[in-house]
Amino acid sequence: MTSENMVPVFSALGDPVRMAIVERLLKDGETSAGDLAEPFAISKPAISRHLSVLEEAGLVERRTEKQYRMFTMKPDGLKSMADWLETYRQFWSASFDRLERILEELPPEGGLQKEPK
């Protein structure tokens, strides 16, 4: 669950514009850079920088069609994130099993105070 190898993915996704681009690509499939830029009040070069960050993190891939740069989500792009969360799920599940036992070992609560044995 330590996250050094996830740093590029966290940093790529950890920006609202890039997160929104990822959501758009998942929803609509392949989209041109121009169309991706449209909803945002930011320049085309700024969008290009965001797309490069996503590409370097292995989340999106590009192809050129005539004068258009087309982007898609890489199929396994988010898999590393899902796997990382899965390790947390296991960590918590194991911890909560232990918590359950500890709670049972604590002295009884409530109005009827029993003498400790």
């Binding site: 996704l13 959501e23 960590f91 918590w92 709670l103």
Partner: protein, 150 residues
């Protein structure tokens, strides 16, 4: 033991029932002596645990694994609402000493006749701007689609 889990790629949700009151479960999270007894996988121990239990206060735990490796984890309490709710941040310390990626843990302790239903949400990205950007929920839809096609 009833455990429900759900996740999309950015949020992990776990719900669990405990045979104890919310006060007890809340205390298990905020008393270092108790937390050290359950926190971490089987076979691990917490030789050090410090908590400054107030909004903005820091917490820290050193986890020693069965194989001798140790990891430090730490964070800040974002909000405290004893015994109903607790919100904190969480990050592991990396090999170079800096803190790694910070996640946010949101806990609710719901009383159910002497028992507690604990709902835990762990968010990969803590801030509101990110949450708003993720509101479309397409990342989770993508995962569902993946499972159907597999």
């Amino acid at each position: 033991m009833t455990e429900t889990t759900a996740s999309d790629d950015l949020v992990l949700f776990i719900q669990r029932e405990f045979k104890a009151t919310p006060e007890r479960v809340y205390e298990a999270w905020t008393d270092p002596a108790i937390l050290a007894r359950w926190f971490g996988p089987e076979g691990s121990t917490i030789p050090e645990c410090d908590m400054d239990v107030r909004p903005g206060g820091h917490w820290r735990a050193l986890m020693l694994h069965a194989d001798g490796r140790s990891n430090e984890v730490s964070g800040v309490y974002l909000s405290l609402d004893r015994p109903d709710a607790l919100k904190l941040t969480w990050a592991w310390t990396q090999d170079d000493g800096s803190r790694g990626h910070e996640t946010e843990i949101d806990l609710q302790f719901i009383a159910e006749g002497g028992r507690t239903r604990m709902r835990m949400t762990q968010r990969v990205f803590a801030d509101k701007g990110m949450r708003d950007a993720h509101e479309g929920g397409w990342i989770s839809s993508f995962r569902c689609l993946d499972q159907v096609l597999a």
